[in-house]
């Protein structure tokens, strides 16, 4: 066999389950399989597990347990936050405007667009700088009394840039408009205390932090108006119907606690490798640019654009050489649409089509980094030749 060693460098897409998390989850598949809504002992024990998990998450986030709603993941949390808060704000105070950054994950961006096209909200996009950062003074400038909700991503999935959520939150608080932030990429690298952040709504998912896929949580600050968008039983205070995914919720609490506890350890392990990747690539690959902020970015995240490269072709070459990377947004249909996040940052399509995201994780090694840096320049060059042959 001539298969190369497989190296996983796509931790912003998803992460492997931590064995400690798996262990915490296991009892709730078979032995304790009850439905938390049931009256009997099976149900009571399952409910206790869910509520225990809620308590652990609340403690880690610095909030009250009742301020957390369990969902099926980051995307559902974003959907519930935007749709639920926008509809509630309209009902309560006639607010009709959404103020959203142009570098949001599609879970936020597409939801905001649907609220505009189907529900008649007015959608205003915040400006961002070349790093994809929202500046608080722009929020202050564009915030109107009829704004239902502001939404700004905490740490960008495509370019790794971290936003000054606390400053933006202070402005929103002063104007009595709720602020939502998608923090799905953050928990393994940034401390998340909802009061330090000053946030009203915060979306989280478990699978970016060595927890299971298909489970997430939405923090809703007490007193923030929210309408249910998934209706049914009275689970989650009637705000999110559906039987609790008990083992996954337990796993998420375990994973989140571990991730937050290990932040400085993770940063210390990864940040030099990240900076080595950035420096070396910019040095050795002609017509390359870093995307996102050079320093104010996730410790595991390095992202680039290469001029005149088909990003999907580069990913294929990398995969064949044993490196699992991403172009920034997980799309494998071969559709070459340049990322709207990169375009919003002022990157031209000619550059934006050649995007590459390298995200390190717990199991990354110095050897992974060295091997990648040794292989990448030639692979980019090969991808460029492919473009030339054709165009």
């Amino acid at each position: 066999m001539n298969a190369p060693m497989r190296r996983y460098l796509d931790h912003a897409a998803t992460t492997p389950l931590d064995p400690r998390v798996w262990q915490a989850m296991q009892p709730y598949f078979e032995a304790e399989f009850g439905n938390p809504s049931s009256v009997h002992g099976y149900g009571q024990r399952a409910e206790a597990a869910v509520e225990h998990a809620r308590g652990r998450l609340a403690a880690a986030l610095g909030c009250q347990p009742e301020e957390l709603l369990f969902t099926s993941g980051g995307t559902e949390s974003d959907n519930l936050a935007l749709r639920g808060a926008a509809l509630a704000a309209r009902r309560q105070r006639g607010a009709n405007r959404l103020l959203v950054s142009p570098v949001e994950h599609p879970a936020v961006a597409r939801t905001a667009e649907q609220l505009a096209s189907e529900f008649g909200f007015e959608l205003t996009l915040l400006p961002v700088d070349e790093y994809g950062q929202v500046h608080p003074h722009d929020v202050a400038r564009l915030l109107t009394p009829d704004t239902a909700l502001v939404s700004v991503i905490l740490a960008n999935n495509e370019v790794g840039t971290i936003n000054s959520i606390a400053e933006i939150a202070a402005i929103c608080r002063e104007r009595c408009v709720p602020l939502h932030s998608d923090a799905v990429q953050a928990p393994a690298y940034l401390p998340l205390n909802v009061d330090d952040l000053g946030i009203d709504l915060l979306s989280l998912g478990a699978h970016k932090l060595y927890g299971p896929k298909g489970t997430g949580v939405l923090y809703v600050r007490a007193g923030t108006p929210l309408r249910a968008t998934q209706t049914g039983g009275s689970h989650e205070s009637g705000l999110r119907a559906g039987t609790h995914n008990v083992p996954y919720i337990v796993g998420m609490a375990e994973a989140f606690e571990i991730a937050q506890a290990e932040i400085s350890q993770s940063i210390n392990r990864l940040i030099d490798w990240r900076d080595n990747i950035i420096t070396t690539i910019l040095e050795q690959i002609p017509d390359s640019r870093l995307t996102g902020h050079p320093t104010n970015r996730l410790a595991n995240h390095a992202s680039f654009v290469f001029k005149g490269v088909d990003g999907n072709a580069l990913l294929m070459l990398l995969d064949d050489a044993g490196f699992a990377c991403s172009s920034g947004s997980a799309c494998k249909t071969g559709d070459p649409q340049p990322s709207e996040v990169l375009l919003a940052m002022g990157i031209t399509p000619e550059w934006a089509e050649g995007s590459l995201r390298i995200t390190l994780g717990k199991h990354s090694s110095a050897d992974d980094v060295d091997a990648l840096l040794a292989a990448l320049p030639a692979l980019v060059e090969r991808a460029r030749k492919l473009e030339r042959i054709h165009r």
Binding site: D310, D320, T333, A383
Partner: protein
């Protein structure tokens, strides 16, 4: 020992899936790739070649075989090269066959380049066609064993540079055998029924497509008889094809057929059955599979459409790269823009597009010998 590496162009259909499975059984390291081709906005779901549904089937097949699978976007190139030449072909009065351009420029160029960039030694497709390789000799291209499924007509466009990397694992099999292998291996297959329609038309009439993309082709003009007499009005030359009988809207004692198109005058020339057809044609510059044109005129069999039967003919390679082809019996549907593909004993020697000028010329010059064809004004 490293295995030879082959990229299989997959479609989710039974043929390419079986091709991938067979090559894997034969000991190749197999990688699947699937082209995403252009569709009109909003019509991707009805594209014959690459619907999202067929791509998910191809992914399932790749997953079942445990091979890597990559979607390769070729939409922009397909639009530029294949769709544009389709439109241009109609604009110049022909009836183009976009599958030829697609195989030459997209599948066996754009995709092949990506396969080679991955370090592949070969690229394979599920086409029904055979190759022979002998050291020191050009690769030779033959019809498939299953003559009903034979696809050598479209693959005459492959030159030696492409053929040296080509594998066609289905050429020795019949379609029922391929189906049996798929069933035995429990390979999922796309359910869409086989179709001769062009992939990017997505089931619509090509005339509607032309209307949207080349409205100037719907330029009405005169329908004239073989002696130039005005008989009626046509709705645009692109809407008609040689040999067409229906839809002319001219009352006549005997059925009238489209004999030719005169693009210079925007006239559609019609006549009776005996006026239809010709016994010779002139091609555009030929693509010879071996890379070299035969030095002398020779007897061969020629196919003038994908679905036509081969007919006996004498082929005369001309100094300028084209060929003059004279048929033993007159043919009624020699159609400019289609390819004339030349076979000797089941081997594809080459082919070339049927030139627009020569067919009209043929009739006006009272069918001279091929050697004497000259390109005069079309009067």
């Amino acid at each position: 020992m490293t295995k030879p590496k082959v990229v299989v162009a997959m479609s989710g259909g039974v043929d390419s899936s079986v091709a991938a499975a067979l090559l894997q059984q034969q000991g190749y390291e197999v990688i699947g790739m699937m082209l995403r081709l252009w569709s009109e906005p909003g019509r991707a779901a009805s594209n014959r070649c690459c619907t999202p549904a067929s791509m998910s089937v191809a992914r399932r097949v790749a997953g079942q075989l445990g091979i890597p699978f990559y979607a390769i976007n070729a939409q922009e190139s397909f639009r530029e090269v294949v769709v544009q030449s389709f439109l241009d072909g109609y604009a110049s009065g022909g009836t183009p066959n976009p599958c030829l351009a697609c195989n030459r420029e997209i599948r066996w160029e754009y995709l092949l380049n990506r396969a080679l960039a991955l370090g592949a030694d070969y690229m394979a497709t599920g086409h029904y066609v055979r190759l022979t390789r002998n050291p020191g000799e050009p690769v030779r291209l033959f019809e498939a064993i299953d003559t009903h499924k034979d696809q050598s007509y479209v693959l005459h466009v492959l030159n030696q540079a492409k053929l040296q990397h080509a594998l066609f694992p289905l050429g020795e099999l019949t379609k029922p055998e391929v189906r049996a292998i798929a069933a035995e291996l429990k390979l999922p297959a796309a359910t869409s029924k086989e179709s001769m329609d062009l992939c990017f038309l997505g089931g619509q009439d090509y005339r509607d497509f032309l209307h949207r993309h080349q409205p100037q082709l719907a330029q009405p003009g005169a329908i004239v008889g073989v002696n130039g007499e005005a008989l009626g009005e046509h709705s645009g030359l692109a809407h008609y094809t040689i040999g067409q009988r229906k839809g002319l809207g001219i009352p006549a004692a005997r059925p009238l057929y489209v004999i030719a198109k005169d693009t210079a005058r925007n006239q559609l020339i019609v006549g009776f059955e005996e006026d239809l057809g010709g016994s010779q044609l002139l091609t555009e510059p030929m693509q010879w599979v071996s890379g070299a044109a035969p030095a002398q005129p020779f007897d061969a069999e020629v196919k003038i459409r994908y679905s036509a039967r081969k007919v006996a003919a004498r082929v005369t390679p001309l100094a300028d790269g084209r060929s003059a082809i004279r048929f033993a019996q007159p043919l009624r549907d020699i159609t400019p823009g289609q390819a004339a593909v030349i076979y000797v004993d089941g081997e594809v020697l080459g082919g070339g597009l049927i030139s627009a000028a020569a067919v009209v010329e043929d009739r006006k010059l009272n069918r001279p010998a091929p050697e004497s064809i000259t390109l005069l004004d079309m009067h």
